[in-house]
Symmetry: D2
Subunit: 315 residues, 4 copies
């Protein structure tokens, strides 16, 4: 799915950590795994079959959440460790021949800071496809064939992002696509606190009014599509709604039965006249996006290029 | 006062429109005036004397609010009209000899988009001081002597902004200072909906924990200091608090008597763990700041340079 | 042709002014026209047939050069006049039905200032295609169907720019393409002094080692492809070579017969160790590119959207 | 001295490497030292007394040039090594008490890429002065008291950079100043190939027409002023003049006696109409400046903050 900022939303599909914690582990058709790597939580969920799909409401596939609360602070040492975990998890999700060609797609709007994660990652991906025209497509030098594009968002181009990517993919025929995107978090505490991966690509929006196509193996006609997302903003609406719920919980009594309709009207009135288009970000968002983009690019570079993985990451 | 983003707050001092509407017009020592210029509301409040000061809690001086709700939309024709009104009001607040030297100070952090209004205005101010060293300091060519600095915020420099400006002012001795800054709005609807002027400069923060000096005639030792501000963000706390209040108002009953302490705790819990450092902005904030900076710079250029005022603004 | 900065070169194909002046006017199969519009020189050359093609070495088609030496200075009034001329000439080159869909392609590297003209133009093009899905594709509101992409350069993406554009064009099927690019000037005096148009698109490079495809009607399978270029840099090599030639001319004698091979070696030694990758730009290049991008975007917007053309340009 | 891009020039004062090589080592009042650290050349020259001053034409003081030709390539490992050498040399030039306050000044224009080195370094300097108001000014935590400003250039502010810095220094009274600036190289091969240090600060320009004050211990009234510069551009004039000289050398004969006046006219004609304001830069200048700024900031941070020096640099 093509995200512009208005689309930034909690992509439940990817939140493996939540699934694992909610005890979905025992569901039929669902396998979960939990691990601590370098002091960083790694949660893996596999929706194995149709039973799992029905039980979770999620597409069959593998989901990984890398949790590291400290990412919000400018801690380079932690960022380096998380980048290494990302490289390992990404490498495990992908199944690449030495001569495979991988296209990295940076989704989002380079001119809107909290949505610029994808384009900034693309700026730092080690692109090699154009360098190896005349050499055999093997792993000589420890570098894989990598290309990268940042197609922009619908509001910038007038074209669905999925259409732009489909057109490019049909022309250059990569073996795998990695799609990087900024996500909307479901709460303040989740901003820049995790990296979410899914080998199902980005599923089409199911919400009312959303008619957009996804970015998946099926829509692109590519064997593998892995999505990489980091929550960077919270919708103002989420905060207002959370506030209403917390008031109800604390005060109790009649308030607990406040109809959803009333709640919604209160939230709309608070956010009027711009309901839905307001983002909540930490004040250091410019710096945060720069840090996260460097981290994700380092992880992708190490996952794709063995020559890079062997050296210090030098974020 | 040195604003970094954590300081962005509703500067009540400047909200002349609110004062005018709240019927403060009848107060002793307070004069108000309301005007419609080119379809744009202009509210002027004068705190005349000590009585007015006590009545309003504001420093003696003149306050102007230019209101134009449509500024949030990318409407160049409206922006041009507002820039002309700004030029006129700014010209009226300042009292400049033809050979006066005006220093424009852009407050805020150029690396944090919603706080970058001041630095971006400075980028577009028509600076002339260095061009007229050898020519007599008159209005030859219709250009006044103008200089401009963007000193950065405390978090960038480690130095109070007021100290940086004081040092510079003592060295270059301008006749007047115009200080431009981004403000925190008291509600969503106020973002980029008004321009606020005050010839009292920027008063020292009076809030708890705020120990910062102001940027005023007194602190700088300059005859005139005019502040120009535009609300660009709302604190997430404001939205959460507004939500609590609206729930109380709509639901009524026992909720109406909810102790402030309980409200505050609810808000803190919603925004945890980053209470106070979260900003709410429209998703088009990058574009909005660019538009507002161009508008304010055009208004300042026309107010200071008669040669510019006579020509089309060409925002 | 995919330009990255190393490809920035004098695109002779587009220099209609030079052709007109060199008295090519009398050649068989070539029609020329010269006009002064608003104090701006407009040179039109038409290569009519195979005879004209042989005589000029250029593809059959129409070429327009808009000359305005003053563009190097930040003169907004002149920029506005040039934008209007550009809109008129672009409108004359294109032949668009009211419901035509035009794709604007910004060539170049957004992260390399002198090469960023194309991407910055795309940032300011009035994109409408996504707004009119459900309304009939007519000229309601005076706005045409416009989309825009900035695909990046080979060094960023690893993919030939012509391949990226071909893939996108096949997917979204525009009726016409406008390709905007920064050019390398053949001399200092030409930087930002003209705008060059051609309805032949961008022809494939013919230089040694250049194996790149063009961006033309034929390669894209689109009925119309118009190129818009502005010279923004000069190769350091050009300046060194010009110097050698001028020394020879001034000093005369044996120097006049200096073998090309010797000249080339001198130039290489001066520019060693980085011959070929050095650009010469005015020191105000950041500002110049911003001005030129705004000008070209204004011209394109007015050429495509009748509703825009009727209003002041408000560059 | 206030540099805007037109001032960027070879600062001979700083080129210790050249002095060392030119056999100035034997001059009276001049001490030289040459070292290889981590495969990087370090040249130190000390102008000891008045005799040395007359012999070299340079102010009494210490000059260090760190040479590393490979810096032009994006080699992170080399950059890290050079940053460590810079930290060591800077530490040796400065003589700081544990509780000393150091002001880092980033000279140059943040809106003109090749001149933006200083401001970009300031963006990455670890600023602490505002954090330690209430703690004793010692080395608790291994962090020194550091502040940083990027005052802008004359063309931006209308104020001499030396005046801005003097005003600020008088207000905040640092114990030492580090002034970082981009320099104009004397030849292509020198761009980003060395880092130049001098504990004489930045001496006033001695060239024709240069009336600007320096940034020195004397002008600022500060005990220590160390300049850090990296050549980032070459004047187009330098390249044209080098070409003329090389033609003369290669062709010989009457050309060898070409009067300087004739040479100068040739160069002016080649660069007409913009002689003097043209810069030559590698096409990757945006990336180069980013790399150099990170390197210099890392060196400064490690030189000033012992806590940083002990950890990996993580450029």
């Amino acid at each position: 799915m093509a995200f512009d900022l208005s689309d930034l939303r909690t992509d439940l599909t990817l939140e493996a950590a939540t699934i694992a914690r909610q005890g979905l582990a025992g569901l039929p058709g669902v396998e979960t795994q939990e691990e601590e790597r370098h002091g960083i939580g790694v949660y893996r969920v596999r929706v194995v079959d149709e039973a799992g799909r029905r039980a979770t409401g999620k597409a069959i596939g593998r989901y990984v959440t890398i949790e590291a609360a400290g990412l919000l602070r400018p801690d380079r040492a932690l960022q380096e460790r998380v980048a290494r975990v990302l490289a390992a998890e990404l490498g495990a999700l992908l199944s690449l021949a030495p001569d495979a060609h991988v296209l990295v797609v940076g989704l989002g709007n380079s001119n809107a800071t909290p949505d610029a994660l994808g384009p900034r990652v693309v700026d730092q991906v080690l692109v090699t496809r154009h360098l190896r025209r005349r050499t055999p497509r093997d792993l000589a030098g420890g570098l894989r064939t990598v290309s990268a594009v940042a197609p922009g968002v619908l509001g910038q181009t007038g074209i669905e992002t999925s259409d732009l990517i489909t057109g490019i993919v049909r022309q250059v025929r990569p073996d795998a696509v990695i799609a990087v995107d900024a996500l909307a978090a479901r709460g303040i505490g989740r901003i820049c606190s995790s990296i979410q991966l899914a080998d199902t690509g980005i599923q089409p929006g199911s919400g009312v009014g959303s008619h957009r196509a996804g970015i998946t193996k099926e829509t692109l006609g590519v064997a593998q599509v892995v999505a990489v997302g980091i929550p960077t903003v919270v919708h103002a609406m989420t905060i207002a709604m959370d506030t209403v719920d917390l008031v109800a919980e604390r005060v109790g009594g009649p308030l607990r039965d406040l109809p959803v309709e009333v709640k919604r009207r209160i939230v709309e009135d608070v956010l009027s006249p711009t309901v839905g288009d307001l983002m909540v970000t930490p004040k250091e968002i410019d710096e945060l996006i720069a840090d996260m983009a460097r981290l994700v690019a380092a992880g992708i570079n190490a996952a794709l290029h063995p020559a890079v993985a062997d050296r210090p990451f030098l974020l």
